[in-house]
């Protein structure tokens, strides 16, 4: 069965290549659906396959750029990408990412970087989880109140409405974002993208996990537009990140290419699945993914304080992430298949009627 293993030319280790393709498909489906790169899922997956950690982040970012490109193209056709917003945010994302990446190299030289990064990450994930679920709870409360009053809740109603407060800031230049349906100061998306880009650079991720909820809760994008526009950002920052990490010698391109074969196809499935799932359905699934990510980061931090549980935590974290990736990817794929079947049945019924 030697043919199932490939020698990585840079890292010098033999890797089970079908595992890379399967991992690629899983993160591709999730990435295309949520609008994120999925670094937190890929790193432990690569680790299980025997991949050296020194290359994990860079390799992940390299494959992320390719799969985000194809997802962006698909979301663009669905009208989910606000290119104007995307281009404005690019400036902040790139500046923030580079500052963050430089900062992490500097922190690496000092040592103990892992602990600092993981604590920042954990706090951030806890905050995002709270934000998503309090939004869902508030929206449900609105729905209940509307039903009690004998009315129907507005389709565009949201739970958290921080963006409305931020839209009141009228620092020129003011901009109209037609696809997202927003009128705000240009400084709002620039500031949000700089901050999320900086965090992405520090944490060594594409930034989708942070930027997607920021686009919803701070900028005020509808969920589908947030997913599409975020993928556009992930594509650019991923490509920039890939160049940056490759230049620093941290990318195993052969592995990235093998993963990309699965991820590019999976990303299409994830992107098409957004056609069939409502905005709040995407938000809830996203919140669950963030919880899984948070628990895995916590399990990585725990052994620092209780060294005896190191091995147990490692195993639990790895299985938790892979289990979550599999469950989410299967759920999204099933929803996509269900939706596609429904669509085809409607088409067939229409064709039968007209005939």
């Amino acid at each position: 069965m030697d043919w199932l293993y490939i020698l990585m030319p840079i890292a010098g280790v033999k890797i089970f290549w079908p595992g890379l393709i399967i991992l690629g498909i899983g993160v591709g489906v999730i990435g295309g659906f949520f609008g994120m790169g999925g670094a937190w899922m890929v790193t432990p997956g690569l680790n299980i396959l025997g991949f050296p950690m020194a290359f994990a982040i860079g390799t992940d970012i390299a494959h992320m750029a390719g799969k985000s490109l194809i997802s962006t193209m698909r979301h663009g056709k669905f009208g989910n990408v606000d290119y104007k917003l995307g281009f404005i945010m690019l400036f902040g994302t790139i500046a923030g990412f580079e500052i963050g990446a430089q900062m992490i190299m500097w922190l690496e030289r000092i040592g103990k970087v892992d602990m600092v990064v993981r604590w920042i990450y954990l706090l951030l994930l806890a905050f995002i989880t709270w934000m998503v679920f309090s939004d869902v709870a508030k929206r449900k409360a609105k729905e209940k109140a509307a039903i009690a009053a004998g009315q129907e809740v507005d389709k565009m109603a949201t739970g958290l409405e921080w963006h409305k407060t931020l839209h009141k800031i009228k620092i020129p230049p003011m901009i109209h974002l037609d696809v997202a349906g927003i009128y705000c100061s240009a400084w709002l998306p620039i500031a949000v993208s700089f901050f999320t880009g900086w965090l992405a650079g520090i944490l060594g991720i594409g930034g989708g996990l942070i930027r997607m909820p920021s686009l919803i809760y701070l900028v005020g994008c509808p969920t589908h537009v947030a997913v599409g526009t975020d993928l556009f950002e992930v594509m650019i920052s991923g490509l920039y990140g890939a160049a940056s990490y490759t230049y620093k010698g941290r990318v195993e391109l052969v592995a990235a290419i093998i993963m990309l074969i699965g991820a590019a196809m999976g990303a299409q499935v994830g992107a098409v699945a957004t056609k069939y799932i409502k905005g709040y359905g995407i938000r809830i699934a996203f919140g669950l993914a963030v919880i899984g990510c948070g628990i895995s980061v916590f399990l990585k931090l725990l052994p620092i304080y209780v060294p005896s549980v190191n091995k147990v935590c490692d195993v639990i974290a790895t299985y938790l992430i892979l289990g979550l990736v599999s469950a989410l990817a299967i759920y999204i794929t099933m929803k996509m298949v269900e939706g596609a079947k429904r669509e085809l049945a409607i088409k067939a019924a229409k064709a039968a009627k007209s005939a």
């Binding site: 020698l7 840079i10 030289r109 000092i110 565009m156 941290r250 052969v254 991820a263």
Partner: protein
């Protein structure tokens, strides 16, 4: 309400400013990592690839930036063709709510 926002902003700023300081306080002093590919076991395109990595990270980077989007588009378009063949509408969506 404004006070709450100010307190939140101040807390966040303090945390971000203190994060590098916390790393400094943790001590350490690791040297920059230099990784060199071992080309002895490789042949053909893999050996060429590893040599390119060892000789010039710049050319290696240029190749990466070209290859990644290209391969992504090739396989993405392949998936597109399959879904189009099945009959899925790949150009519009009906759901428009938050």
């Amino acid at each position: 309400m404004l006070m709450k926002w100010k307190a939140l902003l101040a807390g966040l700023t303090t945390f971000l400013l203190l994060a590098p300081a916390a790393a400094f306080a943790a001590g350490g002093g690791g040297a920059p990592i230099v990784i060199v590919a071992d080309t002895r076991k490789l042949s053909g395109i893999m050996a060429w690839w590893a040599n390119l990595y060892n000789e010039s990270h710049l050319y290696f980077t240029i190749m990466t930036v070209i290859l990644i989007p290209l391969i992504g588009v090739i396989f993405g378009v392949l998936a597109d063709i399959i879904m189009h063949f099945i009959g899925i509408d790949l150009k519009s969506r009906d759901l428009a709510e938050h």
